[in-house]
């Protein structure tokens, strides 16, 4: 069957295809965003500050001096307490809402979502208004009854920080456990009941073990959040002179700046985060296996009988503390000329909104900056994540799948640590970006790139390649097929990714705090500065503006993209 060899020419004709440039460009940008800062962090942690030579000295100093060791102990105490408390509250709450006939379940769910999208540092601000030792409203109310000098609560304490952070971490355990409970088939419980087990015994020996992986996963998530959180400890613990790792990192950046020490000090955070995330992934992976086949069947709700209303009251305590009281406190403060006088006639005013939005140039600019940096970061992160997800899924070159790991790498780097790396990488020539908008946009893009990537990766993988190949055979280049077929098919996924980056970016404090200058201040850094200055009316006003923007976007996204939209941020 030998073919006849006709006179042939090798075809190299045709127009120039710019496709490879795009994909290579995306890889280069990815390297700039992720590898450079993390690499720099590692590098300077091992560099002698004066000579530039190799040394372990920074690590030795960071982990032997007792003033630096105390914050590490505090951080682990804080994180363990927060995660434990959040799991203890979130688990029964999930059971009440997912599996019982308690009234008001839909409303409670909405309130928990509101807590989910509320940054905990804003919660901390609100709780300063509510429970500062002398001026907090709850304290003053109690004091007016007991005729004491000051109220019993002190939010400026480790206990106060644990309380506030636990409140805003409840949604993690809640989401994981409620999701797990909804997957458990009622037959599994019925099987136990038919063997004569009491309801309590069934819960203990069947239901609880089945959702145990979800509880542990929620615990790990809260633990990591608490470990990496900067805002709440900064507002509640710095005044109490109690340092945790993140506030200590911040102090390393006060004069005299000790970048190399900060880099060494931050390394264990990355290690702990990576280890726990891998553990969580294994636990969740096994959970999927456990509940296989548990999807079918309508779930029967547990009848609470006379306990319905008392349990509702108990459940309401959680959103009361995390949403209702804080929002009211912030709203009242933002509407008061002087917050300590309270929302009474004569003190109520829209002055601070007028001030923030029109009168005061710095806040006006900060609002603009937050929106513009957020939008830029969301656009870049979505674009890069899409191109990389495409490159990795279609294996455009050997080893392309490894790019996915690079995209996900920032996930294990706490925001404050990432900011140190970015500061180290871009605060000197050749790339002198410190003080520019670019450095904040890079920080936000890098920090939230994993969210966009994990979201888009599954979506690109789900697209049948035939759809693109059909366009190719009809004369479209790879890039044109990407633009006219793949991207339009993924438009909801792209929009979702954009929003999933934009929402956290406009409320990002921990990385912004290291990288902003007065010319590039954002809403969050302004809140930080106003807190320092004790201007709580301005803090509350900006907080309400952030919350309003967030709630508008989240509710629009819910309508557009469905109920499980926000849950993607936690995976």
């Amino acid at each position: 069957m030998a073919s006849v060899t006709a006179p042939r020419r090798v075809d190299r004709s045709g127009s120039f295809d710019p496709g490879p440039i795009f994909f290579i460009g995306a890889v280069v940008v990815l390297a700039i965003l992720v590898i450079v800062p993390i690499g720099w962090l590692l590098l300077i942690s091992l560099q002698h500050v004066d000579t530039g030579g190799f040394t372990f000295g920074n690590y030795v100093e960071a982990f032997t001096k007792s003033i630096y060791l105390r914050p590490i102990v505090n951080s682990f105490m804080l994180a363990t307490s927060v995660a434990t408390l959040a799991a203890l509250i979130g688990t029964p709450l999930a059971w009440l809402i997912a599996r019982t006939d308690m009234p008001g379940r839909t409303g409670l769910r909405a309130l928990i979502t509101a807590a989910f999208v509320t940054p905990s540092f804003i919660g901390a601000e609100a709780w300063i208004l509510l429970a500062a030792p002398n001026s907090g409203w709850i304290n003053r109310t109690i004091a007016s009854f007991t005729h004491a000098d000051h109220g019993p609560l002190n939010i400026f304490s480790l206990g106060g920080a644990i309380f506030v952070m636990a409140l805003y971490n409840v949604p993690y355990t809640f989401t994981f456990v409620a999701g797990g409970l909804e997957l458990i088939s009622v037959e599994l419980e019925d099987a136990s009941s038919t063997l004569g087990a009491s309801a309590w015994r069934t819960m203990r020996s069947i239901t609880l073990p089945l959702v145990m992986p979800a509880i542990v996963a929620g615990f790990i998530m809260s633990f990591l959040e608490a470990l990496a959180e900067f805002g709440t400890p900064a507002f509640l613990l710095i005044p109490a002179r109690t340092q945790v790792v993140t506030t200590q990192l911040y102090l390393f950046f006060q004069f005299p700046v000790r970048t190399e020490l900060a880099a060494a000090y931050a390394m264990p955070l990355i290690g702990v985060t990576l280890g726990l995330l891998l553990l969580q992934r294994r636990i969740l992976g096994r959970r999927k296996f456990t509940v296989v086949g548990g999807k079918g069947g309508k779930r029967r709700l547990v009848a609470l009988g006379p306990w319905r209303w008392p349990l509702l009251a108990a459940a309401l305590a959680v959103p009361l503390c995390s949403v209702i009281l804080p929002y009211l406190a912030l709203l009242a403060t933002s509407l008061s000329r002087i917050w300590s006088q309270g929302p009474v006639p004569g003190n109520i005013t829209f002055y601070w909104y007028h001030w923030a939005l029109f009168e005061n140039a710095p806040t006006r600019l900060a609002i603009f900056h937050s929106l513009w940096y957020g939008a830029a970061a969301a656009t870049i992160a979505t674009t890069i994540a899409f191109l990389i997800a495409y490159t990795a899924n279609r294996k455009l070159f050997p080893g392309a799948q490894a790019l996915g790991i690079v995209c996900m790498a920032p996930f294990v780097v706490p925001g404050i640590v990432l900011a140190i790396g970015i500061y180290a990488a871009y605060s000197h020539p050749p790339l002198l970006l410190y003080g520019t908008a670019a450095i904040l946009i890079i920080a936000f893009t890098t920090r939230f790139l994993p969210i966009a990537y994990s979201n888009l990766n599954t979506m690109v993988a789900a697209i049948n390649t035939d759809l693109e190949n059909a366009a190719r055979t009809l004369g479209a280049t790879r890039l044109r097929a990407l633009r006219t077929i793949t991207a339009p098919l993924l438009r909801r996924g792209l929009l979702a990714s954009w929003l999933l980056v934009f929402i956290p970016a406009i409320r990002e404090l921990s990385s912004a705090i290291f990288l902003f200058t007065p010319r590039t201040a954002t809403m969050t850094t302004q809140i930080f500065d106003f807190t320092d200055a004790g201007n709580y009316e301005a803090v509350a006003t900006l907080a309400i503006i952030i919350l309003a923007i967030t709630l508008v976007i989240v509710s629009a996204a819910y309508r557009l993209l469905g109920r499980d939209f926000m849950e993607k941020t936690s995976t």
Binding site: M1, A2, S3, V4, T5, A6, P7, R8, R9, V10, D11, R12, S13, G14, D17, N464, D466, L467, N469, A470, A471, R472, T473, L474, G475, A476, T477, R478, R480, T484, I485, P488, L489
Partner: protein
């Protein structure tokens, strides 16, 4: 214009195993010919099609279209510049575009004028009877309609070659008939070269001028349906196309084999000379259950038939035939007998097979 020459084409997938998905195949497809690539799953036919379309780069060998070398280990002309349209098993009709936009896509890529795009799209939609559905979205169409859109979209750009990847396998039986006709009609109207991948030998026989039967990355036989059916090059070909019984026999002299002590006369299209084991192929419907009338001698008979003896293991009444499973001393064969021939299980019977229906093939 679009003669396709495949020479020494080889492709293996990294990682999985070292086995070659396509192993040094040679195939010449004439201009205007419909060539079917047929074979069991995993035989390499789809890989061959992907190589033809330019989605894969060969490890070795070349593909030449006309006088243009489009694929080699060094250089692959990308799919968009090969002038080959592909019809996908999954239809691959774009769900976010109307029928009209789906079909017009290739014309717009070619940057034709708006009116020309409009005219040519309308014309091809009329030819596949989809004019009324031009503004529908694919989700509003049946499977058959979607496949017609895919067909219109592929041919409207006037490709040199049309590649079809299992185009009918997702359709139900009567739609399949209709689409087969549609594809044939387009071929007659355009004279386009087609390469048609299918695992269904009947479909290949209906649709194609010639069939290339593939197995384990190699081409087992190329020829017309008649050639392949009547002169199978191997037991695999005979089994895959039409189905056959295979008997291990020993060639004792030209055209004479020995089977279970009987000497049978056979046809030998490959002029086997070496004495020794060969395979005898006999199609089930070529075997008659004999009325012996006491004549139980087995072997070649003067009336041009071979007679063999066996035992009925099982028989099934199928309405238009009776399917027998017969044991020939360790080898089992199937016989498609007329429904009226009813022999009880366990009885010894004799079978007559004309010499022309007994073929030996190389082992």
């Amino acid at each position: 214009m679009a003669r396709i020459d495949i020479a020494g084409l080889t492709k293996s997938y990294a990682g999985k195993n070292a086995a070659r998905a396509v192993d040094a195949i040679d195939l010449a497809i004439a201009d205007g010919e419909v060539m079917a690539l047929v074979g069991p799953s995993g035989c390499g036919k789809t890989t061959t099609l992907q190589l033809l379309a330019g989605f894969l780069k060969p490890d070795a060998g070349t593909i030449t279209v006309g006088d243009r070398e489009v694929s080699s280990a060094k250089h692959v002309v990308p799919p968009e510049r090969r002038r080959m349209s592909l019809i996908f098993q999954s239809y691959a009709v774009w769900p976010h575009m109307t029928v009209f936009d789906n079909v017009a896509y290739g014309l717009r890529v070619m940057k034709l004028s708006r009116s020309e795009v409009e005219d040519r799209t309308r014309e091809v939609l009329r030819s596949v009877r989809m004019t009324d559905l031009a503004q529908r979205y694919p989700s509003e169409l049946s499977g058959g309609q979607q496949q017609r859109v895919a067909l219109a979209r592929a041919v409207v750009v006037k490709p040199e070659t049309l590649l079809l990847d299992e185009p009918l396998s997702n359709l139900d039986a009567n739609l399949r008939e209709e689409m087969r006709f549609e594809i044939r009609r387009i071929h007659e109207a355009t004279g386009i070269t087609m390469v048609y991948v299918t695992h269904d030998q009947t479909e290949a026989m209906v649709a194609a001028d010639r069939i290339a039967l593939m197995r384990a990355g190699k081409i087992a036989q190329v020829g017309t349906a008649h050639d392949i059916y009547e002169k199978p090059a191997s037991a695999f070909v005979a089994t895959f196309v039409g189905g056959t019984n295979t008997l291990p026999v020993t060639l004792v002299e030209p055209h004479i084999v020995e089977f279970g002590g009987a000497r049978l006369r056979v046809r030998d299209d490959f002029a086997a000379t070496a004495r020794g084991p060969v395979t005898l192929c006999i199609r089930p419907h070529a075997i008659a259950i004999a009325e012996v009338n006491g004549d139980t001698a087995v072997g070649y008979r003067e009336n041009g038939t071979n007679r063999i003896a066996g035992t009925v293991l099982r028989q099934t009444y199928l309405g238009d035939a009776r399917d027998y499973l017969i044991d020939l001393g360790g080898t089992q064969i199937r016989v498609a007998a007329p429904p009226s021939v009813d022999r009880t299980v366990g009885s010894t019977i004799h079978l007559d097979v004309p010499v022309e229906a007994c073929r030996i093939v190389p082992d």
